[in-house]
Each structure stands twice: as C-alpha cells, then as structure tokens.
C-alpha cells in the first residue's frame, strides 16, 4: 500500500519548485517575512502604538552614513539624526516604523490569505457547478458578470459602506471581489476538462456526478486554481493596502501597510522613507507571490512534466 503513496504528486511538485532558484528566493523572502510578522514582539522592543514626541520623523539607519554629527558644523540638524534602535526611523507621532511594518504585516497577510481562501472556496464551487450543470451556467455566470462589471475598488467600498468599517468587513469585501475571477477561470478550465475522454471513461465506469466533479474535474483544475490563488493573493494585498489608504481598512492606531503609506503622504517631501518603506514591502511581497504563482503553474502543468 505504501508503494502507491510513494510518488506523491504534491511532493514531486515541491521538489521541482525547490530546484528553481528564483522561486526559492521568493519562497525564502515570504517565509522570512511571515516568520518575522508572527514573532514581531521578539524582534522589536517597540510597540506599534507607542508614541515618543521627542523623536518625531527621524530617518532610518541609512542616515548614519551621511549625517553631520558635529553640532558645530553648518547644516547640522538634530531632527535629521538617526536614533539608534529605530532601524527604519519614526513617523510623525514618533512611532517606530519597523515595529509598525511588522505588526502591520499581520493584518495585511492575514487579510490577504483569508480573503483569498474565502474567494477561492466560493468562486471554485460556483465555477465547477456552472461548468458541470449547463442549467446553472447562465444564472451563476451572469451574477459573476455583475460583480465583474463593478469597478473593483468601488465594489469593495460599497460593501464596506454597507457593512461598516472594520477589518472583518474589509476581508469579506475583498473576498467577494475575488470570487468572479476564480469562478470564471475555473469554469473555463472545467468546461475543457469535462470534454476530455477520461471523464467520459470515468462516467462509463459508473462514477457519480459528485465523484467526477470533485475527484476528476477539480483535480485537473488544481494547477489553474493554485496559480489564480497566488495571483489573487497578490491583488488582495494590494486591495487591502488600497482600501486602508483610502481609510476603509484598519482602524487607527492599528497599523497596516497601505494605511502607513496614506498617513505618510504629508511627509512625502521631507521624509520620503515613510512612504517608501511600506511601499517597498508591499511591492516585494506582491512580486514574490506573483513569481511563485508563475513558477507553480510551470511545474503543475502535467503536459510539461519530465
């Protein structure tokens, strides 16, 4: 019996993924980021809401290389001094940016993962049902078109406006927003898989609809689903940041990457690092998810095997 399990396709896929350098780099970045976010209290001594007005708007560690330390020298400004310990500087309230990035990541990543999973669950089910039962196709897909027809941000804002501003509602809004893309892609793939000879062969062996749908069709849609999930993960991160930027995400003082960018826009000229740092973090995370999704698709496509 154990023989059958030995060539686990999941394990082969993981092995192949680990052979790809770019994918490994992305994976490492994401894992490190996730670990740092989880163990934030162990990494930074500061709290995300701890204010210190005496060190407002200080630069990060990079200021050590250019700053003028001699108080007598022309151009000396105490406010441009790096405060040891605040690696990424402080914001307008004198809060530690590094701590806010770490704690903010908790919100961004959790909302990203949960909303993607919720969207995946509903979207994939809708897509499969629409593809397999022709009678459900039109009703389901027209609802999806309706969701698609709304500008995405507007839709999310509408949902949040109806449900009220808090992080759970934001998650729901983003999940609803990602349902149609799952549904549409999975429907397309499932329609194609449904016509394959082996589905007919399985039917001729007497398999029930549920078995065909979830055992055979769903499995053959998995590569598509995984790829969309990673891509949606990236867009969910952007969405939560965007919504927070627009003030529809987290409630202050809870930090969130998009909210940090939004709060820093007044200091854009005198302290650009406040917008730059969370921006880079969002960008790197999103790119990593995208690359990972791309590589996964290459690996999971059975026609490219061996």
């Amino acid at each position: 019996m154990s023989d059958i399990r030995r060539t686990n396709p999941f394990r082969t896929a993981v092995n192949k993924l680990l052979k790809n350098k770019l994918a490994v780099v992305c994976l490492v970045i994401l894992v490190v980021e996730i670990l740092m976010v989880i163990f934030a209290p162990l990494i930074t001594p500061y709290d995300f809401s701890e204010q210190d007005p005496s060190i407002r708007l200080r630069p990060g560690f990079w200021a050590q290389w250019t700053e003028i330390t001699d108080p007598e020298a022309p151009g000396y400004n105490k406010k441009n001094q790096y405060v040891p310990g605040h690696y990424l500087g402080t914001d307008a309230f004198g809060r530690d940016v590094f701590a806010r990035i770490l704690y903010g990541g908790r919100i961004s990543l959790t909302v990203g993962v949960i909303s993607t999973l919720m969207g995946l669950l509903v979207g994939v089910t809708c897509g499969l049902l629409a593809a397999y039962f022709p009678k459900l196709d039109n009703p389901i897909m027209r609802v999806m078109d309706l969701l698609f027809a709304f500008p995405s941000i507007l839709l999310a804002m509408l949902i949040i406006a109806m449900l009220g501003i808090n992080i759970i509602n934001t998650t729901i809004a983003i999940a609803i927003w990602s349902i149609p893309s799952f549904a549409r892609m999975v429907r397309g793939k499932a329609l194609q898989v449904k016509e394959e000879d082996y589905i007919m062969a399985t039917r001729s062996l007497g398999a029930r609809d549920s078995r065909i749908l979830f055992q055979h069709i769903l499995k053959n849609c998995m590569p598509t689903i995984i790829v969309i999930a990673t891509m949606r993960m990236a867009s969910s991160l952007i969405s939560i940041s965007t919504l927070s930027y627009l003030g529809m995400g987290v409630v202050p003082p809870q930090p969130e990457w998009g909210d940090m960018i939004s709060a820093a826009k007044e200091q854009m000229w005198n302290r650009p690092s406040l917008t730059f740092v969370p921006g880079v973090v969002v960008m790197v995370t999103v790119i990593c998810f995208n690359i990972l999704g791309d590589k996964l698709r290459d690996i999971l496509d059975p026609s490219l095997k061996d």
Binding site: M1, L205, G206, K219, N220
Partner: protein
C-alpha cells in the same frame, strides 16, 4: 443458444441541432449473446458510436432516445432513472474507448484509476482492490504490474494504456463489454495483441462483446457476428462466415470490394461511389439508394423491410427481396 446479454429493439435516437431533431439511429435492432463478439461496421457517421453511447446512456446533451428498447440481461434500460442507470455502468457494462492516449486521467496514477471502479462497484477494501488490479494487469500481459500501478498515464505507451483500459473495464467482470474502435489508434502488431487479449478475456469472464470498427480485417479476426450500419439504419446482419462469403446488400458488397487484396495481381480497390449523407439530409426510400449502382424507382420511394434470407442472416434491400420472390 447462449443467453442474450444485450437486446436492442427498434432503437430510434435523435440529435437536436439548431432546434430541429435529426434522427441518427433509425430503427436499429440486434442482439449480443454471452461469449459472443458482435462487430458493428460502417462508415464514419453511420451511427456506430451513437449506438454505443445510447446503450451506455452517455449521449451528449442534445441527443435523446425517441423510442425502442434496450435490454441488458433481460432488464429494460430505457425506463430506468438516471441514477439506476449510472449504477449499472461500469458494473454490468463497461466501455473501452478509441483513444487510449486521452482516456486516462493524467493526474491520477494507474493504480488509483484501476482501483476506483473496484472499490466503487465491488465494495472492495483498498488492499483487495489493489490485489485485484495487479492481478488484472498481469492478465492483460503487463510486466511488473506493481511498478505500473505507481506510474502516471504519460509514462506509458498507447498500447499499454489500452491494455490498462481493458484491465480497468474487465476487472469488474461486466456482462457486456463495448469496445469503440479500441484498436484504431494502435499500430498493427499491438492491434493484434489487443484483439487476442480481448478474445481471451471474453472467454474468461464470459462477456458479450459489442465491437465497433470500420476495419474489416479486424472484423475477420474477432467477430462471431457482424452488423452493418449505413446512415443510421441496419442494412445487413449475419454470422461472420455468411457476411464474408455471401454478402447480400449492395453496401456490404461495396465494402468488401473496397478492401485491398494483397494476393491479387493488380492492386485494385473499388471505392463505393458518392459521399456519405449528412444527418441533416433527408433521403426518401432506402437510405443507400443515391450511392447504390442497382437502385430502382422502388428504392427511391420505399424503405425496404428486413428479410431473413438464411437463419441469422438478415438484410434490408428491395433487390434481394425481389430476387428471392
């Protein structure tokens, strides 16, 4: 006479195209007995595959059975519910498909796919199903069955896959096996092996086989009886020897002439003139008359009745009937 496994009587099926119903099967009747191979022969589009799909209840959504009866071991199938029929598929009747390259799920191991049916229909445990699957892989002549069980379809050749399909279907010991051109996609040596294998398994399990093909060489190899279809109608049916030595219907005679004879001095194939009718085409009288070299006015206006010219040998042709009278 052996027990009848499959009895098809006056089967009529239609396809709906652009909101119009077009008949694809026009009053087809035949019987498959236990331990017997019935070959169904005809050009592409004559309704061979549709007949098999109708029996299996796997018609595309625009196809439906209008009238007629299909009996499996005496049980009427056309009145069963979808669910009841589904329960028979794979258990009492199995089907082998034309294209072995695509008839296996690419993402599941051979072992998974072989054991699925066994566990579903025979209620076997994982271990039992595994053992039975290995046993059947051996029966279809696959070396190292344990290793094969772990492999994926893409690691196997067409011939191997077709044997696996056969093992998959035969492992549940169905009373009826439908083979829809199972050798068309294989090369000649593999084809021969598969035919020998099918014959052997048929005897082991005493299954009735309905074998679809357009290759008369294969027919000569495997058939006990032959049913010849043309444009949705049965034109002739008879024992293999009868059909080959004494073909009656002009279409059957045409088919026989279209087979190249390697021993003849001149390599002379005589194709049947004209083209095969589209299903949307309305043809009055005998369906074959536009291509028939002997067609008379009667052929153009009146659908010929089936007559029996010798025991078990039936033909639907006005000319044969007139010659007899």
């Amino acid at each position: 006479m052996a027990k009848a496994v499959l009895e098809v009587r006056n089967l009529v099926a239609t396809f709906r195209i652009d909101k119009k119903e077009y008949p694809v099967l026009r009053d087809i009747s035949f019987t498959v007995h236990e331990n017997e191979t019935v070959c169904m022969v005809g050009e592409s589009g004559c309704g061979k595959s549709v007949t098999t799909l109708t029996i299996m209840d796997l018609l595309p959504s625009n196809g439906r059975v209008v009238s007629g009866s299909i009996k499996l071991n005496g049980q009427e199938l056309t009145t069963l519910t979808r669910k009841e029929r589904n329960a028979l598929r794979g258990k009492r009747m199995g089907m082998i498909f034309q294209e072995p390259m695509t008839a296996l799920n690419p993402l599941l191991t051979i072992g998974r796919q072989l054991t699925e049916g066994l566990r579903l229909h025979q209620g076997m445990t994982k271990k039992q199903a595994y053992d039975t699957a290995v046993e059947y892989l051996e029966k279809v002549g696959i070396a190292n069955p344990q290793d094969r069980m772990k492999q994926y379809p893409f690691q196997l050749s067409g011939g191997l896959r077709q044997r696996i399909m056969i093992a998959m279907v035969m492992a549940v010991q169905p009373s009826l096996l439908i083979a829809d051109e199972p050798t068309t996609a294989l090369d000649v040596t593999i084809q021969k092996q598969v035919l020998v294998l099918l014959n052997k398994l048929k005897k082991d399990v005493s299954t009735g086989v309905l074998f679809i093909t357009h290759d008369l060489g294969v027919v000569a190899e495997i058939a006990d009886r032959v049913v010849i279809l043309y444009a949705g109608c049965k034109v002739e049916e008879g024992a293999i020897g009868e059909i080959f030595s004494n073909p009656q219907h002009p279409y059957t005679i045409g088919l026989m002439k279209a087979v190249p004879d390697v021993e003849a001095e001149e390599f002379d194939i005589q194709p049947i003139p004209g083209v095969f009718p589209n299903i949307t085409e309305e043809i009055g009288g005998c369906r074959f008359h536009p291509r028939c070299p002997y067609a008379t006015d009667r052929c153009r206006s009146e659908l010929p009745q089936e007559i029996e010219i010798s025991p078990g040998h039936t033909v639907s042709c006005h000319l044969v009937k007139e010659a007899q009278e």
